[in-house]
Symmetry: D2
Subunit: 352 residues, 4 copies
């Protein structure tokens, strides 16, 4: 019954429903004396925020973060940090029509089987809006990692069948798809808008790199760094798979190809995606997530009512026709939380 | 510093090094009064045990499980169950040559960066032998799930480039590759043996199905059932990615294709692989893991010594040329542990 | 680094500094569909609230609780419940004089040794104001226990050397000392006011009874019900010891006196205070906490500055001359949280 | 359902029934490279071991500890350490007469209410023999603390109404009562033997000091160092209360007496028993536990059978007439585990 916490040392608990009063996060386990810059947190929130381009939902949320505790005179106190975001553009009446309908692809059916009760307004806690708390907390993790020279950067590797072939980190925030390849960014956008025009949506792949991660992070059995990252990333709504380094392509290789030779500084190639035996090797962490097409589509779909009667539903309203661009900052946040947590563990192990 | 536990309610801690005195698991959180059949546990151990065919390591381990606590007159007491397996065919001298060598593809390099100390004998705790504790504990989970009508079954979907096209559960244990498709089992085996003859190894894909899982398992945010399964499976050495349902193929679909229509009993198709919003939907759980080629190969590889000098290594000794057949029972065990844990949580949530 | 959570199943995280923007709690692990009555929560907050009599601090706090998540149409959703209380009568300037002084009896000295940084305003998170979050969360626990027929009631057994000899639950809320014995309530109050007039403070004993607790709660080793209650109660600032049933008097008994005879319904006497082997026996839980005299006193005391210079301090300001009356609702809250958590565990163990 | 673990960083899980095959502990979270001296562990086990004087049970157990994992060439690996003790002098037949009887003062009645099943032989897991696992794990904690100059020492402050007035640590192990006061040790022993001759038992008080604990350990809200110690100590069977520093005597003091003045090095007196605001102050930790009279007595007592029929029981067999001497090493072990865990947390917080 405790599904809303992540991390062991840099530990967050998130709360909030999509159309309730507020969403937020409590971070318990931040060291004392860490510089806390609210502007950095707000910048990450703005990256996740809807209503910023024609490929994202037009819901208008200011997503202004308020710090309720744990920070004093610009520094962390070592006590829990509560970050709060009020829901502003909550429009529950828009959801009245969906009160008794089970939307395909959404949590609705399974949620009712689980809880027997729900806040139907925008999916309640199963809404993607839940990720605002993750991004707020992840922003602090990113900032703390940056002070150790660790950078976490995500982008849309593929969307609507269009794939980025080259990766230029500087390009990512210049286009609404967060493509790292300027040459395909516009084609990605068009693929998304074309699907939307058909009352449909598209899937894609989000990739995250973590650069500068020192060797030694992650625990060798159940909390391998890649295992924790896998949980972190698959826990994002819409992510249906994850792969590290060469990932699924490894199935068709031989050991003599897939093993990275080792030099004095560690692996000299990076087919493994940054870990050895689940522990970081010093090479960049490379992980890809498959993102399913947005479940909310205007096209009519076969479904049932909450009482089990067959019906048809067209999910109108404010939705992202492709989740990738907005999942990018969420995936970065989750990766940062997992890595910061592993870093804290390793510093503890080596302290004394 | 606590990487050796898995699960919140049906919680295991495993221990043991490959060539130390013993390996095992303590299960804390088993209900009282559950039938405990040691023969069932032993049967699962035997499935994981090496030395059973020409596609697995010839290490001779009896892997006999001893129950040290928590069971009385054939039933669980509700107290911790300690399951112990002595290491018999430990041959540390065989590893003396590797004391100062960092094996490519293995944990060695990262492990030293983490701990600064290691048991070099067969990888110590980073050895695949560590999974014996998982299988012992998972056997009880499987047995408890079976009593609720839930079956967890794994198989080799692909190995050495040979793919099983049809799935016949009855076929799996009839061939050493654990292929569910009799038509390709022998070709899989030949691909593995051919690589081995070259001093090499192959990768593959292991797939796990969980049948009869009721709707409602999994928690909606960080502990989505698929997120927990992702951690569980990626925590197995050699697994470098995981996908649910249609997985990475979803990247190229539209929402109107990928959404499973809903009928009164739940999803009528199963592209989602058994979850909605991370909560089980009542459809079968379908998950695939990519397994990298075995890291230990006879072919010479470039690497360094533990003091950083360049060298070359040929890893002779007793190794599996393809990990898939032996990962099958481990993947089943991990899936069973994750599902049993989620089932306990859901029964708790709905009790009163 | 994670000190702000309590409970395993009915799990709370509290946050907030005494003179920061707000304090509160997130409760993760409340079942879905539980009636949530904000008025009941507010009533408990009012019991803890300062400024209500001449034996408590005159700080003026409305302590109005706002529910930010987890409740919908009067019922719990099964998602985290965030309860927020804004700090209103924060008067940080009053604390400017104490910025560089280490107050005797308070956390100041140890806090600086721990964190190297602090919010000096009213003790920051080490203030008794931190307990507001506990009481808010505990109010829900009390309400859920009440629905199972379990009542948690606390009172001042002794204060300023005056001891309540009889216990009438109905009397407790009728006098400002929360004495259960009308005959001594006024004498207790006078003892407190006399100390205050001397620029001093007094200690006392708070006792908590839990009635209607079914047999079987608590786990038999480290989480014995009394062990958990001991942690819960000693975690309240000012509590320096705890005893169950006949407590320290048992040191001078013989087994033939101290053992409670057992009848078909359980113990027929209650020297053990409601547990056997750490598991509830069905008899009332009886626990007493010793409360030290309030550390903040007007009398000058020898101490040091934060830079280690000897000095003298008189702690003026708004303080309780005796902590007992305000600790009563906090002790009830902590006992309720511990018992509700154990009840959830037991219902889970027996579900299926 | 997870009651068998203690600690967050230096975390132990214990297992085993009194007359099952073995008892033991797994320690997860020990740093790599720590010297591990089995002889030290065995020495602590011998202190707890029965059959060593006329005031302890004559059960003959060698209690030889076997290290199954986590130690290599005399040092810890950073992996879990499994410590195992076989039960030798298990005489289950002696308990056949008690199979259907509920012993007063023991867990029996509550245990059956909880689990509905039990290992009746010597109380199964509710036996004091369970503490062998604690002592084995605690021995490593004590040894690690000793390397930081921290010493944990326990003794019998009072037994059978005889109180030690002076404390000479060197005296403790010289007498079977573990009295720190040579002048009263023999009178204590006589009081115990006199009770035993009457078919009865006595209670007492065990005190633990921790010397050299640096300021800064413990977390300020729910995991105050004294709160954690309270849980640790009350979790020992037979302990019915705990007090720190002046403890219950503080109820009758005024603040001007009870506050310890502060000097540059911390508190100059120690009425608080070593903590301020729940965080260690640098002064010695001083804690006392009340120990109830042994529940097993030869005198006939009124009770019921497991099916609820009234009966009378005389608990013959091998019992300690006073638990204090054998609780001393257990209390030291629990205190050491709690302090080592807090020390690890603090070193982590201050690392970087």
């Amino acid at each position: 019954m405790s599904s809303n916490a992540f991390g062991e040392r840099f530990r967050i608990v998130t709360f909030g429903e999509s159309h309730g009063p507020a969403i937020g996060a409590v971070i318990d386990g931040v060291r004392p004396g860490v510089r806390f810059d609210l502007a950095e947190v707000q910048r990450e929130m703005n990256r996740r925020r809807p209503g910023r381009s024609d490929v994202t939902s037009p819901r208008e949320e200011e997503d202004r973060v308020e710090v309720l505790s744990g920070v004093f005179e610009g520094k962390t106190l070592g006590t829990p940090i509560c970050l709060l975001v009020r829901n502003r553009d909550a429009d529950p009446s828009a959801y009245e029509a969906l009160r008794d309908v089970v939307r395909p692809g959404h949590a609705d059916f399974a949620w009712l089987a689980k809880y027997g009760i729900r806040d139907h307004r925008g999916g309640g806690r199963s809404s993607g809006r839940e990720t605002a708390g993750r991004v707020a907390a992840g922003a602090l993790a990113k900032s703390m990692l940056a002070e150790r020279g660790i950078r976490v950067v995500g982008f849309t590797r593929e969307a609507g069948g269009v794939r980025a072939e080259r990766v230029d980190y500087d390009e990512i925030e210049r286009n609404p798809m967060r493509s790292p390849d300027a040459a395909v960014a516009e084609r990605m956008r068009e693929a998304v808008l074309a699907a939307q025009a058909d009352g449909d949506s598209v899937g894609g792949i989000v990739e995250v790199h973590a650069l500068g991660v020192p060797a030694g992070l992650g625990d060798p059995v159940f909390e391998k760094l890649d295992a924790t990252l896998a949980q972190a990333l698959v826990s994002i709504g819409g992510v249906k798979g994850v792969e590290f380094g060469d990932g699924f392509a490894l199935a068709r290789m031989r050991g003599s190809q897939s093993n990275d030779a080792i030099g004095p500084g560690g692996p000299v190639t990076n087919r493994a995606g940054g870990t050895l035996g689940g522990i970081s090797s010093g090479a960049p962490i490379v992980v890809r997530c498959v993102v399913k097409p947005t479940s909310s589509i205007a096209k009519p779909q076969r479904t049932v009512t909450t009482s089990g009667e067959p019906t048809t539903v067209s999910v109108e309203g404010r939705h992202d026709p492709c989740l990738c661009p907005r999942i990018v900052p969420v995936a970065e946040a989750m990766a940062a939380l997992a890595i910061e947590d592993a870093l804290e563990a390793q510093e503890a192990l080596r302290s004394s």
